[in-house]
């Protein structure tokens, strides 16, 4: 009887892919660390738009245009715009608020991938508590992405496709969870996860090439205007204190450069997390013989991810 028990225990230990489970938990830890950090930048595009409005306010004030005396009034002032469909007038507040749908979809997409990481860990450690959470978050991401597709919202082309891979991850999790198939779950979700990460990364790239570039151009216009004023008025300060103007220039340049550094780190983070999941899938496909190698690879990628997190956290605007 005792021999049978020992043999059974030995068989169970041999069949449990301990290293692969550890690698899965390790991936979940990287996912947690990544999204814990990304959660600190809500409203990415909206925030960039508000900064753009601030620059426009300063430019209008500097050039002597009829700007309201406070930024809040400027932000809420209706402007007549030629090419707008319908109402033909818009405020900066409405304009920037229009990016909220894209921001929501982006955040929901990140949230879904984070929830998936948490679900994988719970699956690996046989803790079933996060299943409902994953389903709810995936549903929210799908709704946000679908809302983006259904409207004329900005960036709908960039993010509208997010609903499909996120939905696939949620569906795979539902089916494989019930069947207790961790390997099947990793395998099934990998293409969808990679696609979701690609879409999110492309979105960040598009934001950088449009919004951040626009900010830089607008700052350049303000800088030129100040130079024009200096030339037109000689050494006498006119309309604006030039030292204050230079401070604004330095601070805005720092903010823009910091944002660019953060976006670069963010894209790298997403790529590394995608690479980590690919390694996890390969490990599970190869079986426990490869468990040690997968765990090692996960540690190497983990270091790269923590370096990217560090870069994201400490992104500086000024040259160091």
């Amino acid at each position: 009887m005792r021999i049978v028990w020992v043999v059974a225990a030995w068989s169970l230990a041999a069949c449990t892919p301990r290293k692969l489970i550890d690698a899965t938990v390790s991936y979940a830890g990287l996912s947690d660390a990544t999204f814990g950090e990304l959660g600190t930048v809500p409203g990415l595009v909206t925030d960039l738009c508000v900064q753009r409005a601030q620059l426009e306010y300063m430019t209008v004030r500097v050039t002597g245009g009829k700007a309201p005396t406070t930024f809040a009034e400027f932000y809420a002032k209706a402007e007549s715009v030629i090419g707008l469909p319908g109402a033909k007038t818009i405020t900066w507040k409405q304009h920037c608020g229009g990016y909220r749908v894209a921001d929501d979809a982006f955040e929901a997409g990140l949230g879904s991938i984070a929830a998936y990481g948490g679900a994988l860990r719970d699956f690996a450690t046989e803790n079933a508590t996060s299943q409902q959470g994953l389903e709810a978050i995936a549903a929210s991401a799908t709704t946000s992405a679908a809302a983006l597709s259904a409207t004329d919202a900005q960036y709908k082309d960039a993010l509208g496709g997010l609903a499909t891979p996120i939905g696939m991850i949620a569906d795979a999790a539902k089916v494989k969870w019930k069947a207790r198939k961790l390997r099947g779950l990793v395998d099934k979700t990998d293409p969808a996860l990679q696609e979701a990460i690609r879409i999110l990364g492309d979105f960040v790239g598009t934001v950088r090439s449009r919004q951040v570039r626009d900010l830089r151009e607008a700052l350049d216009v303000l800088r030129d205007d100040l130079e024009e004023i200096r030339e037109a008025t000689g050494s006498k300060p006119y309309k604006i204190d030039l030292v204050t103007a230079m401070m604004i220039d330095i601070q805005m340049t720092e903010r823009i450069t910091q944002m660019e550094s953060r976006l670069t780190a963010l894209v790298e983070l997403l790529k590394q997390l995608g690479a980590a999941h690919t390694e996890l899938r390969k490990g599970w496909d190869a079986g426990e013989d490869m468990g040690t190698d997968t765990l090692k690879t996960m540690r190497v990628l983990g270091k790269a991810i923590y370096d990217d997190i560090k870069a994201f956290r400490s992104a500086k605007g000024s040259p160091q």
Binding site: E79, G83, G98, D224
Partner: protein, 109 residues
């Protein structure tokens, strides 16, 4: 550089010239109305830039390049204008052209 980026560069170059004229022109009190009109045009140009930044363009790269070239021509005209009140009307007409060019590209969404 993409055709969209080039178009944005062209628009910002045009905007800089408008701002230069707005800042450097010193109208008499009875001449400020025209300058106010130029300020309005400059504001409309900003909103067309905003629309371009947020839009998914389906215009061909060649179409965008043609628009950029036309805007660059207008910018050249603006650059040649001295900051005198009698030039403001010319600047307004040129700004209108630039706005019409970009509005046509952006409405092709």
């Amino acid at each position: 550089m993409t055709a969209r980026d080039k178009l944005l560069d062209s628009l910002y170059a045009a905007r800089k010239q408008l701002n230069r004229l707005i800042i450097a022109t010193a109208p008499e009190p009875d001449e400020v109305d025209e300058l106010e009109v130029l300020l309005e045009k400059q504001n409309k140009l900003v909103w067309e830039i905003n629309r371009l930044v947020q839009s998914e363009l389906v215009a061909s790269a060649a179409g965008l390049a043609k628009a950029s070239a036309a805007i660059d021509q207008s910018t050249k005209k603006l650059r040649a204008l001295t900051a005198k009140v009698h030039n403001i009307a010319k600047a307004i007409a040129t700004a209108d052209k630039v706005i019409a060019i970009v509005a046509a590209v952006v409405t092709k969404i």
